[in-house]
């Protein structure tokens, strides 16, 4: 995200000074948010009987994270969150990888065959309209197993951004490149391995960045449908005061953090796997 904003500024003079002042600006914004939260928390603490249900102080949430008090089953709040996060994130990851694989394969197929593209494209658009998260209970009843339905839903949600982005990537290859490969006498396999597939990488990573938080959301939402572990399940339990309400706040912050982290992780992955793309990023400001 930051990289993009930076790159947007590259067209303008004075980029150096902006780059340098980037961090403090963001810091001030974050500090402002914390300030607003704390002010609201003070207000809530004075007017409400149970302020921790509505808006606890941030330090209270931090204290809950580090306190050794057992909230349930001889586990501290942090342990509860981490143990449940492991099962949720593992399924989200499995579904994510499956969705990525299928999405990329479908995009490849659509790019290889005109007929496949014509059949699949309208349905690819329709998938976006289907409330898959709303359908989570149905998937649960079809698969019958909460772990499997987590994987399936995470996969479906991951699938669309990847497929659509990679298809866009295949289509964005300039005709000049096709002509060049044609003049080299390249066959279809060579055309794809040398030109088309490398050209999709930036699009592929764009898709990854969109779908990684989605996969996690999906996995957590499926958790809320059934007991038996997982972050979502703990979320609804703590919301109903089956355990300390601070577990709820911890989970909320944890989810928010993981959502953003997964997004940045994909950016890091891109930077590591495709370092040679950097110069293109700066240049595509046309």
């Amino acid at each position: 995200m930051k990289k993009q904003l930076k790159s947007q500024y590259q067209a303008k003079p004075g980029i150096k000074s902006l780059k340098q002042s980037k961090w403090p600006v963001t810091l001030v914004w974050v500090a402002g948010l914390i300030l607003i939260w704390e002010l609201a928390a003070i207000e809530v603490a004075q007017t409400k009987r149970t302020p921790q249900n509505i808006l606890p102080h941030l330090y209270q949430i931090l204290a809950a994270a580090f306190s050794g008090k057992k909230v349930t089953n001889n586990l501290t709040a942090t342990q509860v969150v981490l143990i449940n996060a492991a099962s949720t994130l593992l399924r989200a990851g499995e579904g994510f990888i499956m969705g990525v694989a299928f999405g990329y394969l479908l995009a490849l197929l659509m790019s290889l065959s005109k007929i496949a593209e014509k059949i699949a494209f309208p349905y690819l658009m329709l998938i976006q309209m289907i409330p898959i998260l709303g359908m989570a209970p149905i998937v649960l009843s079809i698969t019958g197993d909460i772990n499997r339905s987590r994987i399936v839903i995470a996969a479906i949600l991951t699938f669309y951004p990847i497929a659509a982005n990679c298809l866009a990537g295949f289509k964005a290859v300039e005709p000049q490149k096709h002509e060049l490969m044609y003049s080299y006498g390249a066959n279809k396999f060579q055309l794809y391995t040398k030109t088309m597939i490398p050209a999709t990488w930036p699009y592929f990573f764009t898709g990854l960045k969109i779908s990684a938080p989605l996969a996690i959301t999906a996995s957590i939402l499926v958790d809320t449908l059934q007991g038996g572990g997982g972050l979502g399940s703990m979320l609804s339990q703590s919301l109903k005061h089956a355990m300390s309400i601070y577990v709820f706040w911890l989970i909320i912050f944890f989810i928010a953090f993981i959502g953003m982290f997964s997004f940045y992780l994909m950016g890091v992955l891109e930077a590591v796997l495709c370092p040679y793309r950097k110069w293109e990023k700066g240049g595509n400001e046309a």
Binding site: K118, I220, I251, M260, G283
Partner: protein, 360 residues
């Protein structure tokens, strides 16, 4: 091959020709000081930099969460940008190559055949065997339609509440997002930090937002229906804000080369510059944002209903009916939700076609 390209170039209009013939000037016009362009010059001949110019910017589409539609149909979104024109040229080049009525017809025929195949499989029960499920969990389409007809009054009432939440959230979110973009454009130094923050919020799952906001809005009204509606609208607002702010910011700042200089040479003030240059330039980007926003708003309204106090809305009905093991009824609501999304999207596309008709 060459013939097709010439055809497509002329069809795509002047912009493309300009790009193709004078890559160097175009490049200079765009980013005179961009270090990466200089790096490019060392590396590659001019033809490569043309390539670069023509390339849609994948990394930037990222926040729009919408590159799919935007880029998959290249002619559509950024009609004002040169590279998307050449994208249109490529699309036309592909369409024109076999030049046959069958090519046009098959665009509709193949998906239709596929749809009919799925329908037949579903109705005849073969799909159930393939998925290993039964007629109760996954009722036949005819049964779902019958249930929808029987309960049309109740379904309609729920559709109305969901639409209220989704559309007003979309409206507020888009306005706020546009305001953020405007501030980021006007005060780049501090505003861009805010934009970063807004996009970071975008990565927060709705699941985390919905229960918190339900908690916060307990005092808004003594009426449970009102306060859950407020909570839902707030959730949708937050979710829709991010894509609008990022896209609108792009629309307000990524202007055509020299256009800003032209405005300066006319001696226009900031207000005129905004209304005559930046705002019209922004319109296609607003539609990109809305194309993300419309489906997201419906879905996030439904998720927000899951956590809301008051039991109403299409999303909540899906859940309630599944809790009661009324799968056929739940399917009727799922179908309703899909229809809602599709109808809203179709409305948006037609509005866009009308609004952008002079830009094609």
């Amino acid at each position: 091959m060459n013939k097709y390209r010439l055809e497509s170039a002329s069809a795509a209009g002047l912009e493309t020709c300009f790009d193709a013939k004078q890559p160097v000037q175009a490049r200079l016009a765009v980013a005179p000081e961009s270090p990466s362009v200089k790096a490019m010059e060392n590396k590659n001949p001019a033809s490569e930099s043309l390539t670069m110019l023509n390339k849609p910017a994948p990394a930037e589409q990222l926040l729009s969460a919408q590159p799919p539609l935007a880029a998959a149909r290249p002619a559509e979104p950024a009609a004002s940008r040169p590279e998307s024109r050449s994208g249109a040229a490529a699309a036309q080049f592909k369409l024109k190559a076999p030049s046959d009525w069958w090519v046009k017809a098959s665009t509709f025929v193949y998906p239709l055949l596929f749809g009919i195949l799925i329908y037949v499989l579903w109705q005849s029960g073969l799909l159930h065997k393939m998925l290993g499920t039964d007629d109760f969990t996954l009722p036949a389409p005819s049964r779902i339609v019958r249930i929808m007809q029987d309960n049309s009054g109740k379904i309609w009432a729920n559709v109305i509440t969901t639409l209220q939440a989704a559309l007003s959230g979309l409206l507020f979110g888009s306005l706020l997002g546009f305001l953020t973009a405007f501030l980021a454009m006007r005060f780049p130094r501090w505003g861009s930090g805010g934009l970063t923050l807004v996009s970071a919020f975008n990565a927060i799952p709705i699941i985390a937002l919905a229960p918190v906001i339900t908690n916060w809005t307990k005092d808004v009204s003594s009426d449970a229906a009102t306060r859950s509606m407020v909570a839902k609208i707030l959730v949708v607002t937050l979710v829709c804000m991010a894509s609008m702010s990022v896209n609108a910011y792009r629309g307000l700042t990524e202007l055509k080369p020299f256009s800003l200089d032209l405005m300066h040479s006319y001696g226009s003030g900031r207000g005129v510059e905004f209304i005559k240059l930046r705002l019209p330039n922004c319109v296609p980007y607003i539609f990109i944002a809305l194309k993300v926003g419309v489906p997201t708003s419906v879905i996030s309204a439904m998720i927000a209903e899951y956590f809301a106090e008051f039991i109403t809305g299409v999303g909540r009905q899906i859940r309630e009916n599944i809790v009661l093991a009324q799968y056929p009824t739940a399917w009727a609501y799922i179908m309703t939700a899909c229809l809602m999304g599709i109808v809203l999207y179709a409305i948006l596309i037609s509005v866009e076609t009308v609004a952008l008709r002079h830009r094609r």
